[in-house]
Symmetry: C2
Amino acid sequence: ARRQWSAHGWAQAADGMAAVTSLMRAQQIVLARVDEVLRPFELTFARYEVLMLLLFSRSGSLPLNRIGVRLQVHPTSVTSAVDRLETRGHVRRTPHPTDRRAILAEITEEGRATALAATEKLNDTVFAEPGLPDGGIDTLVGLLNEMRQAAGDF
Amino acid sequence: ARRQWSAHGWAQAADGMAAVTSLMRAQQIVLARVDEVLRPFELTFARYEVLMLLLFSRSGSLPLNRIGVRLQVHPTSVTSAVDRLETRGHVRRTPHPTDRRAILAEITEEGRATALAATEKLNDTVFAEPGLPDGGIDTLVGLLNEMRQAAGDF
C-alpha cells in the first residue's frame, strides 16, 4: 500500500499511512490472540484490564470515572465492562464513602482469583514471548508513545 | 503496570505485557483520531480500508472473500462493511463473471470520489505527521511485524 500511496502522488503521507495501517493490523492480530486466551475465563481484554486495575489498587476498588481516565476509555465502555464483570461476580458496585455522586467498582475474591488465573495463562502464552528482539520492547513502546502523543494523547 | 508485574513475580512476562498494553493503547488513540477524520464522510477505518483496496484494484472490484484475506478480517466483518458501503452507494455487489459461488464488491464513481476526498483529509491531518523520528517508521513497522508473527499471523 505504501507503493500505491506514492504512485498516487501522496508520497509525503505514505510513511504515516504505513505506520497507522501496521499499527491497526498488529493490534487486530494480537488482540485476537489475547481474547482467545481470555475466552475460557469469560473475559475480554477490556474487562481484563479493568480487573487488573482494581487488583493493583490499594483498596481493591476505584471510582468508575477514575477507571475510565486510567484506561483512557469512554465512560460508557467502563459502565458496560463493569456491568459484565458484575454479572459474573468479579466486581461489585458500592457507594463511594465520601463522594455521594461517585460509584466504586470493587473487585471480589472470585474476581481476584480469575484475574490471577487469566494472568498466569496470558503470561505463559502471550506476554512471555512477544516475539521481539532484545531492546525491541523499549524501542517499540517509545515509538508507540510518540504516535499516541502525535494523535492527541495527553 | 510493568513495575506491578515484576512486583507480583511475573518479571519474565513484564516486557511482553508492556508491549501488548502499549500497542492496544496506541491503536485506540490513533483509531479514535482516524475515525474522527472519517466521520464527516460517514466512513469508519474498516470501511475506508475496503474502499481503498477496491480503488487500488485493477478492475475496481474484488471477490468478498479476497477482501477478507487481504485485510485479515473475518468474512462477517467484510459482509457488514460492504453492506454499509452499498447503502451509501459507495460500492455495489455484482456476480463474479466465472465463479458462480463468488460475489464481487465493485467501487462506484461516488465511492471513488469519497475514498479520494477522505484520503486527502487523512493524509493532511494524520498520515503526514505521524509524530515519529526519521527512520522511526521503518523500525516501528518492523517491530510490529515481528509481534504479528509471534501472535500467529501468517
